[in-house]
């Protein structure tokens, strides 16, 4: 069993574009206080931002569970939403089901899940259509993982 020194749940309301990024900024501040810096902080912040935006863009509501131990950050995201029919397709960069309204704001470029995967050491996605989606994102605090170049393509 991993011993988590910090655990908290952040709730995100679907459709609330007014507050988009609020939870990510809050979580980044928490991580900074926990002395998480540089590359690890960058990867966690991007993963949380994309997860938050997915909930806002597609789901009714969702929750982001953050757990931090000495060697890893676990980000569990569960939403009540439409689910993902074809996860493999959704993972492809550029594939998006975003509405025009979402795209006009510069979201919905089809990069969200791809960005999360690039930032994670492990990513597990499970989804049930018309129920919701669950992401389990693990970012190791030391050692392995993608560096900055991992996001460039």
């Amino acid at each position: 069993m991993t011993d988590y020194s910090y655990e908290n749940t952040f709730t995100v309301e679907g459709g609330d574009f007014e507050s988009a990024g609020k939870t990510s900024i809050e979580i980044k501040k928490v991580l900074k206080k926990l002395a998480i810096t540089n590359e690890t902080l960058r990867r966690a912040a991007i993963a949380v931002y994309e997860a938050e935006l997915n909930i806002i863009s597609y789901a009714k509501k969702g929750a982001i569970d953050l757990a931090v131990s000495d060697d890893k950050i676990l980000i569990s995201v569960a939403d009540q939403g439409p689910g993902i029919e074809d996860i493999e397709l959704a993972m492809q960069e550029g594939y998006s089901t975003a509405t025009d309204q979402i795209r006009e704001m510069g979201f919905g470029a089809g990069m969200g899940l791809h960005n999360i995967k690039s930032c994670a050491d492990t990513l597990d996605i499970s989804s049930e259509v018309n129920k919701g989606t669950h992401l389990s994102i693990v970012i190791n605090r030391r050692g392995s993982g993608n560096d900055e170049s991992g996001l460039s393509d």
Binding site: A45, M111, S152
Partner: protein
Amino acid sequence: MNLAFLTKELDLKVASCEDHLTREVKGGYVGDLLSDVIAHSTQGDVWITRQSHKNIIAVSALREHAGIILSLGTEPGDDTLDKAQSEGIPVLITTLPSFEIAGKIYDLLAAR
């Protein structure tokens, strides 16, 4: 090279956080897709964009940009400026298109 120097040199209009213009500009990034910008821009960049809604502030705060430059004279709404003030993100405006302002900043950075 800081934002105050850029503002003077490139005739930028300061829309928010005039007190933060001492911030150092390390590089730049041009983009209007938020996922692209959050993934590929780096800390200390000045972000050049045509997006002016308030969500750009969260992206900029998360990536710790030096500031945002809105191109083609794009005027941000009050909600964007309020958010910029609360997160401490300078928002500057140029009348030039993104390509031209990026070119000028690139030259200034390269000359250093």
